[in-house]
Amino acid sequence: MKNRWLPALTITPSLVLVGACVYGFIAFTIYLSFTTSTLMPQFELAQEIPYYRLFRLSTFALSAKNLCLFSGLYIGLSLLLGMLMAILIDQKIRGETPFRSIFLYPMALSFIVTGTAWKWILDPSIGFERTVHLMGFPDFVFDWIKDGDMAIYCVVIAAVWQTSGFVMALFLAGLRGVDTEVMNAARVDGAKGWDMYWRIVIPQLGPSFISSFVILAHMAIKSYDLVIALTGGGPGRATWLPSVFVYQYTFTRNEMALGAASAVLMLVAVSIVVIPYVRSELRDKTQA
């Protein structure tokens, strides 16, 4: 075909744009993370590798620790709640559509909106604590969002609220994809109720688990908007995550190299989770 070059030509702009603005920029930032950049990018390599300075910084250690805590709880609770909601909805209930819509609508909201709403709900002076006081329990305390040790759990609450509907949707599709004849065979073989779910249905939900886990993990690592809107990173620095660290150190504290290094570490974390997943997706799809 004399237009053999047309397909290649058509995809070239995308390749150039993505190649430059994604991979090129990543390379640039990786380079920066070894330089002396402070306010502006410098191309001189730093004497002491910024990563070493990074690991000595207590703010970074706090961000990393918060990330582990946050991710673990966020992923675990979202998976549990999402799977529970999917199983409940799968029980041939009436009003399935409204329930599904209610559990899923938070996904349509910006994290800023979610953060704003939950910020005041969790605020002790006008939110939950005050409501319970007014109901007649003046000694009730719920000021996690103002408490340096507990604030991160507030982020977990808001985040789980936002995305467990998504996990539910994935598991629901997985549940519905289980072959009815296999379930009939299990009925004839004597499996009922809990046995049926535990031995037959849930083991076939592997792909749903994996997809959910990968998406949740990558969202957790990238979490930024929600933290900014909900706590602004506070109280103090109590809810700092690596994403907040990057922004703060790059633009406010003029330590661009450190910010870049933190960003690179975020990329590494995401890659560990996502690359195996992308590879298996590609293998599946090309075989189809």
């Binding site: 072959d179 004849e181 296999v182 065979a185 004839v188 073989d189 009922k192």
Partner: protein, 350 residues
Amino acid sequence: MATLTIKGISKSFGATTVLHNINLDLADGEFLVLVGPSGCGKSTLMNIVAGLEEPSTGSLHLGARDITGEAPDTRDIAMVFQSYALYPNMTVAQNIAFPLEMRKVPVAQRKVAVDEVATLLQIGHLLERKPRQLSGGQRQRVAIGRALARRPSLFLFDEPLSNLDAKLRVDMRAELKKLHMATGVTTIYVTHDQVEAMTLGTRIAVLKDGQIQQLATPMELYERPANTFVAEFIGSPAINWSESQVGAEGQIYLGQDNSGLVLPALAGRLVRVGIRPEDMVIHDAGMLQATVTLVEPTGAESYVLVRSAMGECTLRMAGAASYVPGDTLRMAVASHKIHVFDASNGERLN
């Protein structure tokens, strides 16, 4: 070992009735085939017997027990599904043992049962594999093994061979028959393939639109079909048809030629006459003249399509046919091989 009595089973989904008043009595050890075109209700009947669906009316008795209201697992019935329905997350051994596990059979006994079944079906070397690693034929054996391991009173097969390729289907058919002879378990087998029905069943129930058209042995079905549907459904190539009016003295005509068959009781009636391809014999003194339109050799036999006063017919003869399209020939048919049916309701008249 048990008998199965199906009495007055009907099933409706809203306004649509899928099964009308089905009555069947299976003897112990019988191999009953339910055959019919898609939509005839055979799968629904199977599901009702298995307990996966509830009948709208009627009852089921296994031996002396009334199993009509019981859950699938307490009925002592095992089922082999069309898609085999193997549990994808378990090994072959675990699949076969699963029903025993659900019945709380001790581990040691389960292993013995699995090994026995594996030997019988020659799948011992597959026990640690997962279903996705098996071929179609192997999966089918595992499905049968899972059903066998329970030593049920009744076996249900739902079109188990339809997902296999033609050659494998023929091989498995023979194996299933041998298996039945070895185990002697009462069996209901559903298929839409009439060749399978004929070769496997001790008796066949032909279903159409939720009603049993005829319940008989294979040869009875073939030689004395109860109505035009059964006559057409069983037998390949299909039976040849001709419509005519019976003469004043009861002469049965094929086209305009007298067939030689006389049935005075049917004088003047409009009838459909059916003759099977192998019963139309080429004979120089035959009563019907015909022109050859097509010759189809299949190796062991040939089908010769002709046009005659009867319309288009297919003849079946052994070996190679030396005819070419355009040739003329004469055909004859023995009187006792002519099937006569009422033209309006299709019921057998002779």
